[in-house]
């Protein structure tokens, strides 16, 4: 592979010289000018955070590209890697990090991260460390939370559900009172949510033992979650619209949906999608299967990688570290994007005593995040999460449309993931 790259690389050099005329000069330094780093992120308001860096570092200017949506960023990184025009720095969700490592996109950043284990939240450290090397600077962890409309719950005499039974009961009550209103939607396109709910119930979809992988997507814990939601869908007391669509946005804004199984990063998204509902939302811990032993899954969370193709690897590492560990950056991040920092120092900020602007009525928001973090389960993501999630979307879309078994859909996903791993050449247990 490398020889082919090199030979073609020589040819590419000749051609790309002329291409630069049209391409502009992405990431390449001019003779005397500052180093320019290209940074991909999907975080809301990330420009404001980057602006803080650019002001303080005139010699290392960062251009942030938010044109790639969070759901597509891995695909676009893979495409860019193939084309040889990766950005210098990019954000990635933890679940996609293994894919980026095996495709030689995420560079080893142990030289800036290696000695920070004691300053980093344990789950975030585990999710970014493979075979003793660090491959990303973790940005935050994302404690799973339930957000609900206090006004609607109060109108129906409901309390925030603490168990899944209560949650189901709330779904029935709300839908019975107004057939146009739903407690929630079960979105076939949100594999991340389903994975997190399964993890809460005790599932480990991917796990690694030595050099062998095992895949347990259709295990009992996931099956329990599948049955639970299938029941609600069949009763008709939850909607089935996809999340992150215009229909869903309208439903949040007009009160068709009155809660959201989200995470610590959710408030700014509700704010953007349903600005009129400010002050009406409250965050609580997720409903539990066994309240005496609470658990929460990993719902997103992201880190910052430096790519293997960066022309300025040192500057890129410096920026990635600053972005996720420095006081200035974390303060800006918390203010604009509601992250729950992975850097332990970041959790001491005064800023965290204040709730997100959208949840101004909830002063203990970050305290709650800290509590949930305590019982968030440990998770290993496999090297083909994207393939698994893609199959999930299609299989669950079909299952919802045809009224077929969600458990069978999980079987389809597991089979696809195993086949894909075998094709890639992994040993499966």
């Amino acid at each position: 592979m490398s020889t082919r790259r090199t030979r073609l690389g020589a040819l590419a050099g000749v051609l790309s010289a002329s291409a630069l005329v049209l391409a502009g000069c992405s990431g390449s330094p001019t003779d005397d000018g500052p180093v320019v780093l290209e940074y991909w992120s999907w975080a809301p308001n990330i420009e404001q955070v980057v602006a803080v860096w650019n002001e303080a570092n005139p010699d290392i200017q960062v251009e942030v590209n938010t044109a790639v949506a969070g759901a597509e960023i891995t695909a676009k990184l893979l495409a860019a890697a193939e084309a040889g025009n990766l950005p210098d720095v990019s954000n990635t969700t933890y679940d996609n990090l293994p894919t980026l490592i095996i495709n030689d996109i995420a560079a080893d950043v142990s030289d800036v991260m290696g000695d920070r284990e004691s300053e980093t939240a344990g789950p975030a450290w585990d999710l970014t460390t493979f075979g003793g090397s660090n491959y990303a600077v973790p940005q935050g962890t994302s404690p799973q939370m339930l957000f609900y409309r206090t006004d609607v719950f109060a109108a129906h005499g409901l309390e925030a559900p603490t168990t899944w039974d209560e949650y189901a009961q709330a779904a029935r009550t709300i839908h019975a009172a107004d057939p146009d209103t739903y407690l929630a939607t079960f979105p076939a396109n949100d594999a991340q949510l389903f994975a997190a709910l399964s993890q809460q119930a005790g599932a480990q979809w991917w796990s690694q033992d030595g050099d062998a992988w095992s895949v347990d997507i259709a295990d009992d814990a996931s099956g329990q979650v599948a049955d639970y939601w299938q029941g609600l869908v069949e009763e008709g007391v939850v909607a089935t619209m996809k999340t992150y669509t215009p229909e869903w946005q309208a439903a949040l804004a007009d009160g068709t949906l009155v809660s959201w199984l989200g995470a610590v990063w959710t408030p700014p998204l509700i704010e953007q999608n349903a600005p009129e509902t400010a002050g009406l939302w409250q965050a609580v811990a997720l409903p539990q299967w066994t309240p005496e032993a609470p658990a929460a899954g990993v719902m997103g969370g992201s880190g910052t990688i430096v790519t293997t193709q960066s022309a300025h690897p040192d500057e890129a590492r410096e920026f990635a570290l600053w972005l996720n560990t420095s006081d200035e950056a974390l303060e800006a991040y918390i203010q604009y994007a509601n992250i729950w920092p992975a850097a332990l120092s970041g959790r001491e900020f005064d800023g965290l005593g204040e709730p997100p602007t959208f949840l101004a009525n909830q002063p203990d928001f970050y305290e709650l995040a800290a509590q949930i973090d305590e019982y968030t389960v440990e998770v290993t993501w496999g090297p083909n999460v994207a393939a698994g999630f893609d199959t999930f979307n299609n299989a669950f879309s079909d299952a919802i449309a045809n009224g077929t078994s969600f458990r069978d859909a999980l079987d389809v996903v597991e089979t696809a993931v195993v086949t894909d791993l075998e094709t890639l050449g992994y040993t499966i247990e």
Partner: protein, 298 residues
């Protein structure tokens, strides 16, 4: 040639009047108007939706325009979206469609002229080779093109969209067909006797006669590139390289992560569609689609 004959017999724009009879045309006219309404309805919807503020978009009757300043807000919001990305996309679309279509037309003019007016060994083979390109869907070669241009380090640059746009087998085919009729052999021979070199002959003698047809070829290719989605979608990831189609798609798909943008997308669609429709109406008389309908007989 039959194509020429067909054209000489073609009635002119004022033609239908000559055989229009005073019979009842209510039914055919009604059917045509229904068709027109079907085609204009989405455009009207677009205009109406563009006048709405984000909070009105999902809450007011869709075909009733709003006059609460939403139009201006959306215009300003769109202009400022991601640092003026919309205007960059417009410029990119013009560069890709304009540059690609000019190059493709030039290539087609040369090749079409050679195929129409010269006899040479291997002509059938060359024509067949180029013609297979008509049949291979551009969508399908897009991924191989991406792989190859990646290896050359060109993917992600403007070249990765411009280069594939420069070769249009259908344009070559069309140019060959109309050139055979538009440029007479006698004119070429007499120019040769006057001692004209071959390229001068092409440029000064044949080209002027080919211009009407070449304008149509240019317009077809322009629209083809302008409307193309998959190729630029695959080729570029940076916002400042995207044409309008890919830009809108990316805007639409990050409604979740960034600010509520559906109103801006709608405004953008309107701004992108209206000038192109206007351009069409303006250039209508240059459309020589009889070239296409005549081409099968050529």
């Amino acid at each position: 040639m039959s194509a020429t004959q067909a054209r000489t017999r073609t009635r002119t724009e004022a033609g239908p009047g000559t055989r229009r009879r005073p019979s009842s045309g209510i039914l055919p006219t009604a059917v045509l108007l229904i068709g027109a309404a079907y085609c204009l309805l989405p455009v009207y919807w677009l205009i109406s939706a563009a006048t709405k503020r984000p909070d009105e978009l999902f809450s007011t009757f869709s075909l009733a325009p709003s006059f609460n300043g939403g139009f201006l807000d959306n215009l300003v919001g769109l202009s400022q979206y991601a640092g003026g990305a919309f205007w960059q996309w417009c410029l990119n679309s013009v560069i890709y469609a304009g540059g690609g279509a000019v190059a493709a037309t030039a290539v087609a003019a040369l090749a079409g002229f050679a195929l129409a007016k010269y006899e040479f060994p291997g002509k059938r083979l060359v024509f067949g080779y180029l013609l297979v390109g008509v049949l291979v869907p551009g969508v399908i070669v897009a991924i191989p093109q991406y792989l190859l241009l990646s290896q050359l380090g060109l993917a992600g640059t403007r070249w990765s969209i411009l280069l594939p746009a420069m070769i249009s087998p259908f344009s070559i085919y069309l140019t060959r067909v109309f050139t055979a009729g538009a440029v007479s052999d006698e004119v070429i021979e007499s120019a040769r006797l006057d001692g004209a070199r071959e390229f001068r002959l092409f440029r000064s003698v044949a080209l002027p006669m080919m211009v009407p047809g070449l304008i149509t070829v240019f317009l077809l290719q322009f629209v083809g590139i302008w409307n193309n989605f998959l190729l630029p979608f695959i080729m570029v990831t940076r916002s400042d390289m995207m044409p309008l189609t890919v830009g809108f798609y990316s805007m639409m798909n990050q409604g979740s992560d960034q600010t509520n943008v559906y109103s801006f997308v709608i405004m953008g669609c309107l701004l992108a569609v209206v000038p192109l429709i206007a351009l069409f109406l303006f250039l209508q008389r240059y459309w020589r689609l009889d070239l296409i309908s005549g081409s099968l007989k050529g």
